[in-house]
Assembly symmetry: C2
Homo-oligomer: 451 residues x 2
């Protein structure tokens, strides 16, 4: 009776058998039995020539849903191989914002040609002007707007007449004669209201909205904070240009989390799904950071060379080097990742810097004391002389404290300078803490061991 | 005309002035002029005694919204200080899932007392049985269910009569006489359908649903994948227990991303917002990992002690230790963070392990070659003898390759063993790569330099 996600691999195997036998109708029937996201997953596993041959044979609604669900790069590649006529027919069936995304990813000459054949060109063309990462780039055109003078009954009859095929009708936006946004009414309010009430009396005149040029993150933050299913997008004159729907919100939240995550791992964000990223692109995204961190890390060598005399006097000092800088790096990562995430969620801002550092310094004193005591005894079990064990214990405590100071200050200062705090990623911090931590260690060794 | 988020600090200052002058009505009016998330933010800045005094004076709908918007720990603290009568009145106004969340966070004896006074106790009590992190713990009770025999017109009239005050009506679930889930119809479909059509003919009988005991992440994944505004939750007999709504989806997605992020930073997830976490709790969440990594890192000392002879023969070998293990750690983090995030997004699974490792090995060969050449020349500029420079170059290449192998295999194996791959966090990997990287370095040094 009810339905759980299917095992795509089983259906894929059946589709492959059907295609190998040239049974196009059976392959089409198998694919049409799935839901769009599953259709897209299956489709992505087929070779390009079979994708091009299959797509126009599917029901146009399914073709549109598949093209919308595919990753941007896959959709563009497929669109490039389709006939202009076929592509126009499929794009006409898609939501205008999704059609615009596909057209934005193929060469402009082909896009112009396709638009000239599309019936919905008027809906899609204005969306092409907005950059991808802005609110305007996410929006779709509202299928229906209401006027204040309508009654609830008239509005429902109007809805029924237009019979919009999208889920964008749960919030209905009200505009004046200039097209300016003046209110919002939910479909629920419309149903529950007495039929003759004018829209003016039901609508909420204070509509949360966003400007078309705003960053997509700002739009996502507003929707998530206020629990909105749809967010209206306006131009400089407050005219309603389009709406951003809840599925875009989820996509933006996931993209932003992925970007921060990759930066924390010392890599440029990949922009596309992992498996779709070519090896050379992965190399390019990573080599810059790796080199930069390598150069930064060479300062550790400079510090060590500076203390060459101490090292040759007491080779045992070297045994603790990775342990000390590793612990400093870990302590710094803990602090930085907590603060970077709090900044991303909007829980803290630069003005909390003193409060945050004070919290982190107190936590680090507890952690440093614990690590120092344990490090002291660990050093003794390696038969180190007592003064070396003291050096290790005191250094651990000092390095954990120092790492917390750097780990809390750097992301906050970055956010103040409008650099993404995730760029000051854990490995970058680690590298800084490594070199300065060594300096702390050898200065303490010199003082305690009298080298 | 339309409305943008307000500057809470300005209103907060005005509220403080009003409270200091004992003008409760003015403070109440200022707070009621805001939207619930902003009200909650402002509320959280007030001292506890003022919160307790203010909450019962607000409109009960606003009090309910504030209590729902506050962080769990703040809400529980406030609930504890309220009169049983006041608290029951406010909880009656909240969505049942949110009321259950508050009751679950206060001592059971008090919760029982409050429930005995609540009008909506029947709605809330069944929800208390479900653990927080399951689908059942997220769900709310559906205010309305339909039957297959109803017509579209009857269903709309029914909706209008009940006049549900929540946004949960955009998907209406259809149940049979046993309460089993048999279909779903969207409010849009209901409006657009011809009035006399029976629900049976409009509804989709294949409803994506989730079991009450399923993990909340599974529920979020289904909603995000299929673009659902609401997901029905059923018991073992497929009876409809409740629904999960889109605002819960956003909260789960953010929580899961935060957890992964903190694990990548080598800390247990904090469970509550950064600024609300007490210092001792931060210490406890971090000290375990820091100690575990410290113990693991002591193997680096074991490796170094093992090569004490080589180190005293050529102290210059030590200069490159942090550089080599740092680069290995960074290369491993890049790989692991990309794969952990792909696993979290469901882009890859364990069955891709060979494909993934092959991709990572090829990328690592490119990166390792680049780093090896640069490392070789860097070593020469430090006036290292040629055989030491060779050792450094070859070791860098080998360590980057080795880090990629560990960094790709470990998260995938963890996911196979049903351990959260983010637990195999970047620092844990770094620590493993450090010790094995040193071993590689000294073995290569022994071979090339003949020590």
């Amino acid at each position: 009776m009810s339905h759980q996600p299917v095992d795509i691999d089983t259906i894929l195997a059946q589709v492959r058998v059907a295609l190998a036998a040239g049974e196009w109708d059976r392959a089409v029937a198998l694919i049409e039995s799935l839901r769009p996201p599953d259709q897209a997953d299956l489709f992505g596993e087929l070779p390009p020539e079979e994708q091009v041959a299959l797509l126009p044979r599917l029901d146009v609604e399914d073709s549109a849903a598949i093209l919308a669900e595919l990753e941007d790069s896959e959709a563009a590649e497929l669109a490039l191989r389709l006939d202009t006529e076929d592509l126009a027919r499929i794009l006409d069936e898609m939501e205008p914002d999704e059609a615009a995304d596909v057209l934005g990813d193929i060469p402009p000459a082909q896009a112009v040609q396709v638009l000239s054949v599309m019936e919905e060109a008027d809906e899609v063309e204005p969306l092409l002007a907005h950059p991808d990462e802005t609110a305007g780039g996410l929006m779709t055109r509202p299928t229906i707007t209401l006027r204040q003078e309508m009654t609830a009954e008239e509005a429902i009859a109007y809805l029924r007449r237009i019979a919009p095929d999208s889920e964008t009708v749960y919030y209905l936006f009200v505009v004046d004669e200039e097209g300016r946004l003046v209110g919002v009414v939910s479909l629920r309010q419309l149903i529950v209201a007495s039929p003759t009430t004018p829209i003016r009396d039901i609508m909420d005149p204070e509509v949360i909205h966003v400007h078309a040029g705003a960053d997509q993150e700002e739009a996502a933050r507003l929707m998530s904070r206020y629990g909105l299913l749809a967010l209206p997008v306006v131009d400089d004159d407050e005219r309603l240009l389009g709406i951003i729907t809840h599925d875009d919100l989820v996509a933006v939240l996931e993209d932003e989390a992925t970007e921060d995550f990759q930066r924390l791992g010392a890599s440029e964000p990949l922009d596309e799904p992992y498996l779709d990223t070519p090896i050379m692109k992965m190399f390019r995204k990573r080599v810059g950071w790796l080199l930069l961190l390598f150069v930064a890390e060479t300062f550790t060598g400079t510090v060590l060379r500076h203390f060459e005399h101490e090292l040759s006097e007491a080779v045992a000092l070297a045994f603790f080097v990775p342990l000390l800088i590793g612990t400093g790096g870990n302590a710094g990562s803990q602090v930085a990742s907590a603060i970077i995430r709090s900044l991303a969620l909007g829980e803290v801002t630069f003005r909390h810097i003193l409060l945050l550092m004070w919290r982190e310094i107190r936590t680090a004193l507890l952690l440093g004391a614990a690590m120092g005591v344990i490090g002291f005894f660990r050093a003794l079990t390696w038969h180190s002389p007592a003064n070396l064990a003291y050096t290790v214990g005191v250094s651990l405590c000092a390095i954990v404290l120092w790492a917390a100071i750097i780990g809390s200050a750097m992301p906050l200062i970055a956010s103040r300078l409008r650099i993404d705090p995730a760029v000051i990623s854990a490995p970058a911090l680690t590298t800084l803490v490594d070199a300065t931590g060594l300096l702390i260690y050898f200065l303490i060794a010199r003082a305690i061991m009298g080298l």
